[in-house]
Symmetry: C2
């Protein structure tokens, strides 16, 4: 998706060895026009979607952009809680490690919002090792919800997330794939 790729080249920057910062247009300040274009892009890639599922916080904006292009289907965002004390009888819960932040979160979705009838598209701003996507797939599996696919804004192609998700039989589409970093710059595929 060329608009995004150009933007990553212009405005993305690398911190340390492997953190790509896109905070001026994706996950702190959000370019809402780009978001809308990303929504249109992914609506052309998947069909039969009745619900969008993401994880708070930075997947939410992208989720709204995508949902609007699937005829304004509902967006569900899994909630993070460091606490293990959740009222588990009403929740589907799973554990997700964050590559970027080095943290582990219990994430949950109220059982009312994932059903056997739903056909979910899982979306997120980033995919590295695929932990968030795998956690959301796990929540869908607990609910008996069909996963139509996984839509990612920026995939870090060298961290294995795609392979782990595809091994579950789930299709992955990304708007941009970072092949590697070179001299502190992202090199895109």
């Amino acid at each position: 998706m060329n608009t995004l790729k150009d933007r990553i080249i212009c405005d993305g920057y690398v911190i340390g060895d492997d953190i790509l910062k896109v905070d001026s247009f994706i996950n702190h300040q959000v370019d809402t026009k780009l978001l809308d274009e990303l929504g249109a892009y992914f609506a052309s890639k998947f069909e039969g979607v009745t619900k969008i599922l993401t994880i708070e916080a930075s997947g939410i904006a992208f989720g709204v952009g995508v949902a609007s292009h699937f005829g304004y289907v509902p967006l569900v965002f899994a909630k993070k809680s460091k606490s293990k004390i959740l009222d588990e009888k009403n929740l589907y819960t799973t554990v997700v490690d964050s590559f970027t932040k080095g943290t582990t979160n219990t994430v949950s979705v109220d059982k009312r919002f994932l059903t056997k009838e739903d056909r979910c598209l899982i979306v997120d701003d980033f995919m590295a090792e695929g932990n968030a996507a795998l956690g959301l797939i796990d929540l869908c599996n607990q609910a008996g919800t069909t996963v139509v696919g996984v839509a990612i804004v920026i995939e870090k192609g060298f961290q294995g997330g795609r392979k782990r998700v595809e091994e579950k039989g789930i299709r992955v589409e990304s708007a941009a794939i970072v092949d590697h970093f070179e001299d502190g710059k992202p090199i895109l595929r």
Copy 2:
């Protein structure tokens, strides 16, 4: 805003004495069509807005809906951190108490994303005592950013938030105002 009011009456419910849950259409599962209608509603109330400012996580979806109706202006979401160890020289920070959660968060915005040239509309899904709105106003004041107003999906009219914000000379618009709770149900104005 009648669509929203009807929805609160149908699908909202009260927990304990004063927590209104709207998690089936606002802040866990999001009705993205309603979000779009809310965006159009607030675009008719304010003008001259160049940026939308909210706070993660549940303000983000509403923020996207509003931004799209102001010609896709950028959306900035302030980030929460329980840690006080932030790189403060690049951030505007303030402290916000959460009424609902009984927690205190340090929230911050990168200095690149709030400027003297910006005319910000502050948005959030709820206003109770107004702490989040006042915190975001404080961030704008630190940056010299003009605050055009505060747009709220659901205002709890009995908790004083509006008065505290208006005392700062800032206009508040809400799509629905809960006057009080009666027999476990929200009574709207």
